[in-house]
């Protein structure tokens, strides 16, 4: 695994995110609430990526940008799940979990892992999102909102997130050990992480494409 491979994979996800954002902007007003929140997430992701590059240029660790993004990502995802399940998740639980997570995330950023990779935040986020994803699948089976699952954008979004966070969970758990104890540069791991991220964003783009098709030709 070379640095060149890593850099190529590092650009995949942001490029796909930009495509997703373009798709999101088409017929924006007709989109459902949770898709509009997804648009906000995509914008945040692009800002975070731009922030990372900017911080790297000015010789400041780019981890600050990504850490703040990960802290803000969970409340947005939680709200998306809340909307997508027709608000069957208790609002209080969504607010409390998001608030506690954000507080812990900033605590970790300011006092514990600081400018390093905030892997503790990532582990907690992954576990919470996996639970949300499983709940959404359970809700789908209970409610059977559609006979054509492949035409439901949230099905693709949920699959993307369960795939991404499950695939990265073990990596997030051991990042701290690998960096601090093994002094590993994590090149291989980050390359694989980037590939998983690219697959995740590709599924998000598919969801946006399906949503656009549904708006243009509902059936």
């Amino acid at each position: 695994m070379t640095l060149k491979t890593f850099l190529v994979t590092a650009h995949l996800a942001p490029s796909l995110t930009a495509v997703g954002l373009l798709l999101f902007l088409i017929r924006y007003r007709a989109k459902q609430d949770y898709i509009k929140l997804l648009g906000l997430l995509l914008v945040a992701s692009i800002i975070a990526t731009a922030g990372q590059f900017l911080l790297f240029e000015v010789k400041i660790t780019p981890n600050y940008a990504s850490s703040i993004y990960y802290i803000l990502e969970l409340p947005l995802l939680a709200t998306i799940y809340y909307q997508a399940t027709n608000r069957t998740i208790p609002k209080t639980s969504v607010v409390v979990i998001s608030a506690v997570y954000v507080l812990l995330g900033f605590w970790n950023l300011l006092f514990i892992q600081k400018q390093g990779i905030n892997s503790y935040t990532l582990v907690v986020e992954s576990i919470i999102i996996i639970f949300y994803a499983l709940y959404y699948f359970y809700w789908l089976i209970e409610k059977l909102p559609t006979t054509q699952l492949h035409r439901l954008p949230m099905f693709w979004l949920n699959s993307a997130w369960i795939f991404f966070f499950s695939g990265n969970l073990f990596f997030f758990v051991f990042i701290s050990y690998l960096v601090n104890v093994e002094k590993n540069d994590l090149l291989v791991y980050w390359t694989l992480h980037n590939i998983l991220k690219a697959i995740e964003v590709l599924m998000i783009v598919s969801a946006l494409w399906i949503d656009l098709r549904n708006i243009k030709s509902p059936s």
Binding site: F137, L149, F163, E182, L192
Partner: protein, 266 residues
């Protein structure tokens, strides 16, 4: 990756990651297949409920028709017979006592006998059983036309033989109800009733030039629209499609198309 600990950690991460990915994919695939299965089960249940409802409706209608048949027979045989006997007795009496002025009484009795026959015929049209659907509908058109002064033109095309008696009766009742609705509500000056037998289907059309009606409004109004309800019920049981032409400028046109399966065509 020289140190065994580092190798172990790497192996653990690899196995964990692959395991989680496989689990995630398995969950998604399971979801897709399980949801399809749930929907199939739901559709099956809905179909069973629908079939059960249809059978209940069928049984109710059969019971209704049996009751009508019994009433018609009782009216015709018992009451009709007695009235006829009374009529004969009155005629004999008037011959024996010419001075007795019983013409009015005889007229009232004749009217009553005619009413009883009409009610009996409306309850169970014997023409349907003896001569078939086309004749029965022609007769009901002529009868309504005569009693209400509303010109009802009837036309027929083709012929269907071997149609199940219960289906014939349901088609007759639907047509009768359509004519009834026109007479009661449409304020029409003319009505056309047609029946067309094609190789694959039987079509009945009832059209008038009256005031028309809003089908959705009629469905929503309680206590009214029961005739509409019975038309739609019978059409459902026959597997027929029913169209209340909505975009007409004037009047009403009801089209019932019943697919013909295994019935013989002439």
């Amino acid at each position: 990756m020289d140190r065994p600990e580092e190798y172990q950690i790497t192996l653990l991460i690899a196995i964990g990651t692959v395991g989680m990915l496989v689990l995630a994919i398995a969950i998604v695939v399971f979801m897709v297949f399980y949801q399809k299965k749930m929907i199939r089960e739901q559709l099956k249940r809905t179909q069973l409920e629908y079939d059960h409802q249809q059978r209940l409706m069928q049984a109710e209608l059969e019971s209704q028709e049996n009751e009508r048949r019994r009433l018609a027979a009782d009216l015709h045989d018992s009451i009709g017979g007695m009235l006829s006997a009374i009529r004969v007795g009155l005629s004999t009496l008037s011959k024996l006592s010419p001075e007795a002025n019983i013409e009015q009484t005889k007229q009232m009795l004749d009217d009553t006998i005619a009413s009883v026959r009409r009610i009996s015929r409306d309850l169970m049209p014997s023409t349907l059983e003896r001569f078939g659907l086309f004749h029965a509908i022609r007769e009901v058109c002529e009868r309504f036309s005569a009693t209400t002064q509303l010109p009802i033109h009837f036309y027929e095309q083709g012929e269907v033989t071997g149609l199940d008696k219960s289906k014939e009766l349901m088609l007759f009742r639907i047509t009768q109800e359509c004519i009834n609705n026109t007479v009661k509500h449409a304020q029409a000056t003319e009505m056309i009733v047609g029946i067309v037998a094609a190789p694959e289907s039987l079509t009945i059309v009832a059209e008038d030039d009256g005031v028309g009606f809003d089908i959705e409004e009629q469905r929503n109004v309680k206590r009214k629209g029961l005739g509409l309800f019975s038309i739609e019920n019978r059409a459902n049981l026959l597997g027929a499609s029913i169209d209340f032409e909505r975009d007409r400028k004037k009047g009403t046109r009801v089209t019932i198309i019943m697919p013909l399966k295994h019935e013989q065509q002439a």
